[in-house]
Amino acid sequence: MIDPMTVLAILAMAGVTYLTRIGGYVVLRNRTLSARATAVMEAAPGCVLISVIAPDFVSKNPANLAALAITVLAATRLSMLPTVVIGVASAGALRWLMG
């Protein structure tokens, strides 16, 4: 039910996340960031998110690639919920249709 390594990983995540939450208040409240540091901080979350899903962009399954194209299109126009519904439905349907 509870694995020690899993708990350790979760505690590491929780500690790191809490440090990021208080870090800005503690360290940066009396300073201004350089333009370069701000640019890097602003780009960071997107760089991480796109890196995590990068394998989907080079999938060897044509159904997955087609579903990803539909999902990208949906994400540029729609809000979170419809995009997820369209992404999941198109992936499920295309996998079924294209084997």
Partner: protein, 247 residues
């Protein structure tokens, strides 16, 4: 949270702390309904990676940062690579540093014993709602501009919903079986892409993302294991640092 929803919430006349708390609840409710599907998907994916019905709420309750949890679950192995997961968590959540810095001037009137617990609940949504409200109140000349009960009213329901519905997802996931075959795996790219659309500030600002995508995809094809995330993220950050020099 759209401007009209904030306007709706501010239309209510609030009386005292209870009123402020309820005003926060009203401001966050529309966004709250939107997070339930992600919580269910995250819980189901966690169960599929071998996390138990106790471990999933432990993660979502102690960490309480959805983006990093989606990323961690995606990279989860048995046993997990603790350093990799901690590093990715930091990179995904590094935006909190900027968010906290932006909020800091509005927190000056509060003692640290209240600020530190309140910051535990700071997520994209509660931060956005709390900061927007503080800026509006400051413009109206209300002091203090930042209303802690309003912020808690907006943040606490998020926390409860996130923990409860990720747990439901973990409990229901095994009943659904292999969520992969229903196409649920596409929920991750969908969530991430919409989050990125929200961060979009034009093509020039998005160039580091393209660098990350290309480097991560190539690394994924060439190098076994989960190194593609670190390689993609770091090359994107290097690109951002380099490109910031042109201005």
């Amino acid at each position: 949270m759209s401007v009209s929803e904030i306007a709706l919430a501010e239309g209510q006349i609030s009386q005292g702390r209870g009123g402020e708390f309820r005003r926060g609840l009203a401001a966050s409710t529309p966004v709250l309904l939107g997070i339930i599907p992600y919580a269910l998907v995250l819980g189901a994916q966690g169960a599929q990676k071998g996390l138990s019905v106790v471990e999933v709420p432990m993660m979502t309750g102690f960490n309480f940062a959805g983006g990093s949890e989606f990323a961690a679950i995606q990279l989860w192995t048995s046993p997990p690579h603790i350093l990799l997961i901690a590093a990715i968590t930091f990179l995904v959540n590094s935006r909190h540093l900027l968010m906290g810095a932006a909020l800091a001037p509005f927190l000056a009137h509060l003692p640290k014993r209240k600020v530190f617990p309140a910051l535990f609940l700071m997520c994209d949504e509660s931060w956005a709602v709390g900061l927007a409200d503080a800026q509006r109140r400051a413009a109206q000349g209300l002091r203090p501009a930042f209303s802690l009960p309003f912020y808690l009213g907006a943040a606490l329901p998020f926390y409860l919903a996130w923990v409860v519905f990720t747990t439901c997802g973990a409990a229901l996931g095994p009943v659904l079986g292999d969520v992969e075959k229903y196409g649920f795996a596409m929920a991750f790219p969908a969530v991430f892409l919409v989050l990125m659309r929200g961060m979009w500030k034009g093509f020039a600002a998005a160039r580091p993302w393209l660098v990350s995508l290309v480097v991560a995809a190539l690394t994924y094809l060439i190098v076994p294991g989960a190194w593609y995330v670190a390689a993609g993220a770091l090359s994107g950050l290097a690109a951002a640092c380099f490109l910031a020099g042109d201005k």
